[in-house]
């Protein structure tokens, strides 16, 4: 197959996923410029590996796997890949006693969060939680696909998702409570 034909096939398969790929990079990158670099590098690596691509593979999951490697390889990142993540259990005092942690008030709190704030909270998560929450809760990939992208077993995907969601809930409640406290003390300042 000539290079031109190959390139045509590559474009037709990959182009529909480009924007979503960029969105995933953007949700993880510290800046727009870095997200753009990651997206471009991912697509270049995808092109280089295209000839090895199995006909049966899900294209988007394949691209996300490459993106995961690109992010891991980026020397500009803080070394957070192996950062130990906090381990909240369901017995966590804060989550059991805070008024906003009960399901009803928690749903109200979630509805009040801006997209910008939610995205910022997700970005602040340790990588091991951020990756999984983005792939499952934002992108709605299956546990099997997530396991393949992140090279984890299904059990590990499940446990990290449980712990990650718990940690994110804790962060959101603390952040919302802090904002409430600040606006009560400074009634003239509007909530951002």
């Amino acid at each position: 197959m000539s290079n031109e034909t190959n390139k045509y096939h590559f474009d037709s398969l990959i182009r529909p996923w480009r924007n979503r790929l960029y969105s995933m990079a953007y949700r993880q990158a510290p800046s727009k410029e870095i997200a753009e670099d990651w997206t471009q590098e991912t697509l270049l690596r995808a092109w280089k590996g295209f000839h090895k691509l199995d006909q049966q593979v899900a294209i988007y999951a394949w691209l996300l796997k490459i993106l995961n490697h690109v992010i891991a390889d980026d020397a500009r990142r803080e070394i957070r890949r192996n950062e130990l993540a906090p381990m909240h259990t369901t017995d966590d005092k804060f989550l059991n006693e805070h008024p906003s942690a009960s399901p009803g008030p928690f749903e109200t709190l979630m509805n009040q969060q801006s997209e910008q704030h939610m995205s910022a909270m997700i970005k602040s998560l340790p990588d091991m939680f951020k990756d999984i929450i983005l792939l499952r809760d934002v992108e709605r990939l299956s546990y099997e696909e997530i396991g393949d992208i992140l090279e984890l077993t299904k059990g590990t995907v499940m446990s990290r998702l449980s712990r990650g969601r718990r940690h994110l809930a804790s962060l959101l409640i603390k952040s919302a409570t802090k904002d409430e406290h600040l606006s009560r003390n400074n009634p003239q300042k509007g909530k951002s």
């Binding site: 697509l43 369901t90 939610m118 449980s162 809930a169």
Partner: protein, 278 residues
């Protein structure tokens, strides 16, 4: 017996409670087997904390799915198209150059040798010089206890540490000042059962493996190093491994290079352990 004392029934409940928490996401997302669903549902009946956690997970998952995607700019789109085209052109050009190179090599080699075989031999030799990577022998990967410890470390890196029970009485073999015991489990090192201790040192995890002297001294390189310097040190897969005798046992310590160097400075004599000279 007071209410606070742990009865066997309470201990079993606590252990199950810790284990099942990690299944709650799977339950929320319909990713559990029928058997797992039964076990989780039975637990949820009696556990308000887990029920509340499950509801929060379901609420959060629904909300996060509604987040809007970021959009790529037209400039970025164009930039990527140009970069891909450049890469494709570069590869096409390289392919032409390589086939031209080998064609010339073949012509030169057949002119040098009288027989066609000389040409083939020379081409294969040139291929080996340019194509084969520089292979260095790996001297520690053939030591079973090192191989097992590194493999176990990587296994733990890619999965989650088991939760430490509330009433844990396990003491790690060596104290590292400022460190925290995270988890302990049983594994196999050098063909024998070994107790592993995951310890947090700064932002990294170091694992200590308590092994028998039989396993420690099995390899002649290790025996020689221990008798000369008191310990055996190796590096593999960006990890550092330290093997040394302690009391009448052996100890393997595995961790990332940066964490190991600070850990070695902070190693102190542990209660009941032998002297550790580093």
């Amino acid at each position: 017996m007071s209410d606070n004392e742990l009865t066997p029934k309470k201990t079993r409940f606590n252990e199950l409670h810790l284990q099942l928490q990690d299944l709650l996401a799977g339950y929320a997302d319909d990713e559990l087997t029928a058997q797992e669903v039964d076990v989780v549902e039975a637990h949820l009946i009696g556990c308000a904390a887990c029920r509340a956690d499950l509801e929060r997970q379901q609420i959060m998952s629904r909300q996060l799915h509604q987040l809007n995607a970021a959009t790529m700019s037209v400039t970025l789109d164009r930039q990527i198209d140009e970069a891909l085209q450049m890469q494709a052109d570069k590869e096409a050009s390289a392919k032409n150059q390589i086939s031209h190179f080998f064609k010339r090599m073949w012509e030169v080699c057949t002119r040098i040798g009288s027989a066609k075989q000389t040409g083939w031999v020379m081409t294969v030799v040139m291929l080996m010089i340019f194509v084969l990577p520089n292979i260095k022998p790996n001297s520690v990967s053939n030591i079973p206890m090192i191989k097992d410890a590194v493999s176990d470390y990587h296994r733990v890196e890619n999965s989650d540490l088991p939760m430490l029970p509330v009433n844990n009485k396990m003491v790690m073999p060596v104290n590292i000042a400022g460190s925290q015991l995270l988890a302990t489990w049983t594994t196999e090192i050098g063909g024998e059962s070994a107790q592993a201790f995951a310890v947090k040192v700064g932002h990294s995890v170091i694992i200590q493996y308590r092994i028998s002297q039989n396993v420690l001294y099995r390899n002649p390189s290790v025996r020689k190093a221990v008798s000369t310097t008191g310990d055996f040190r190796a590096e593999q897969d960006q990890l550092e491994i330290l093997a040394l005798p302690i009391n009448e046992e052996g100890l393997l310590i595995v961790g990332p290079r940066n964490a190991m160097s600070s850990a070695k400075k902070l190693l102190t004599k542990s209660e009941g352990s032998g002297v550790v000279n580093l």
